[in-house]
C-alpha cells in the first residue's frame, strides 16, 4: 500500500471513529474527550498495522451515490417483505423454491459484493455463491428470480461504480 494514498483513509477513519465516540458518550469534559482521542489513535494505529486502512474497508469513492441507492433499496425491502409475509400466512404450499444463475454486469469486486448483499438482504432471495460473473441465487419462488433478471437492481449497483 502506498503511503500517500493511505493518508486519505487514515483521516476518514479518525473522523468516523471520533463521531462514533462522541455520538455514544455525549460528555464533553477534558478527561473523556482525551480518553476518546487515545482510543481513536490506538484503533487507527492497529488498523494501520493490520493493513486494513484501504479502499476495501472504506469505499469512499461510492459514498455520495450510495445514499440514493439505500433509499431505493429500503423501498424494495418493504415490497419484498410484504410478499414474504403474505407467503408466511398463506402457508408452506405458497412457496416454490428455485435455484438459478443470475448474470451480473459489475466490473469491480465491490460492485458484485454490493449486488450480492442487496439480494441477500431482500427477503425471498439469497445469494449462495459467486461463480465468475454470475451469481447463484436461491429464491422462495420464481418471481424473485424474474425480478432480478429484469435487471433494475443490477443497473443501479453498476451506476455506483462509476
Amino acid at each position: 500500500m502506498k503511503k500517500n494514498n493511505s493518508l486519505r483513509y487514515i483521516i476518514s477513519s479518525v473522523i468516523v471513529l471520533s463521531l462514533i465516540w462522541i455520538g455514544n458518550s455525549g460528555y464533553f469534559n477534558g478527561l473523556l474527550l482525551s480518553l476518546g482521542a487515545v482510543s481513536v489513535a490506538f484503533v487507527v494505529f492497529m488498523a494501520y498495522r493490520l493493513d486494513i486502512v484501504d479502499e476495501e474497508s472504506q469505499p469512499l469513492q461510492v459514498s455520495r451515490r450510495i445514499v440514493v441507492y439505500w433509499l431505493w433499496l429500503l423501498k424494495e425491502l418493504v415490497g419484498s417483505n410484504i410478499t414474504v409475509i403474505k407467503r408466511i400466512w398463506q402457508g408452506p404450499h405458497s412457496i416454490n423454491p428455485v435455484v438459478a444463475r443470475v448474470p451480473t454486469s459489475q466490473k469491480t469486486e465491490m460492485g458484485q459484493t454490493i449486488y450480492a448483499n442487496s439480494i441477500t438482504l431482500t427477503p425471498g432471495t439469497t445469494t449462495l455463491d459467486i461463480d465468475g460473473d454470475t451469481l447463484i441465487v436461491y429464491a422462495l419462488s420464481y418471481d424473485g428470480i424474474r425480478y432480478l433478471l429484469g435487471g433494475e437492481m443490477d443497473r443501479r449497483v453498476k451506476r455506483l461504480e462509476e
Binding site: P97, V99, Y138
Partner: protein, 128 residues
C-alpha cells in the same frame, strides 16, 4: 403535535411487532432450512427497522439515544446479509440441499453439486 408523534410511534411499534411475530411463525411453517432463513430475514429487515423507527420517535429530544438507535439500525442492516450468506454457505458445505419446487431448471440445479463434502453428494446419487 406530540399526540400525533406518539400515535405514529405506537403504530410503527405495533406494525413492527406484528412483522417480527410473522417472521417467527414463518420459521416454523416453512418446510426446510433455506426457506426458514427467508422468514427470519423478514424479522431482521422490515420488523427491526419499523420497531427502531418507532423508538426513534419516542426519544423526545435526547439526541444521544437517537444516534445510538441509528447505529443499531445500520449494524443490523449491514450484518444481516453477511450472516444469512454465511449460514447458507455453511449449510451447503455441510451437505444440506434446499427442497426445490416445480419450476426448477435442471441445469441450474446442477450448480449445487459444486458444494459440500464429496461423500454427501455421493450418498445423494446412491439414493437416486
Amino acid at each position: 403535535m406530540s399526540v400525533f408523534i406518539d400515535g405514529l410511534s405506537w403504530a410503527l411499534l405495533i406494525l413492527g411487532g406484528f412483522i417480527c411475530v410473522s417472521g417467527g411463525i414463518g420459521m416454523h411453517r416453512f418446510p426446510d432450512f433455506f426457506s426458514r432463513m427467508h422468514a427470519a430475514s423478514v424479522t431482521d429487515t422490515l420488523g427491526g427497522t419499523l420497531v427502531l423507527f418507532g423508538l426513534m420517535l419516542q426519544t423526545d429530544g435526547q439526541y444521544l439515544v437517537l444516534v445510538k438507535l441509528i447505529l443499531v439500525l445500520l449494524f443490523i442492516l449491514l450484518t444481516s446479509p453477511t450472516g444469512s450468506h454465511a449460514l447458507a454457505k455453511a449449510a451447503l458445505h455441510g451437505g444440506l440441499r434446499p427442497k426445490l419446487g416445480s419450476q426448477q431448471d435442471k441445469q441450474d440445479a446442477d450448480v449445487l453439486n459444486n458444494f459440500g463434502r464429496a461423500n454427501a453428494s455421493e450418498t445423494d446419487k446412491n439414493k437416486e
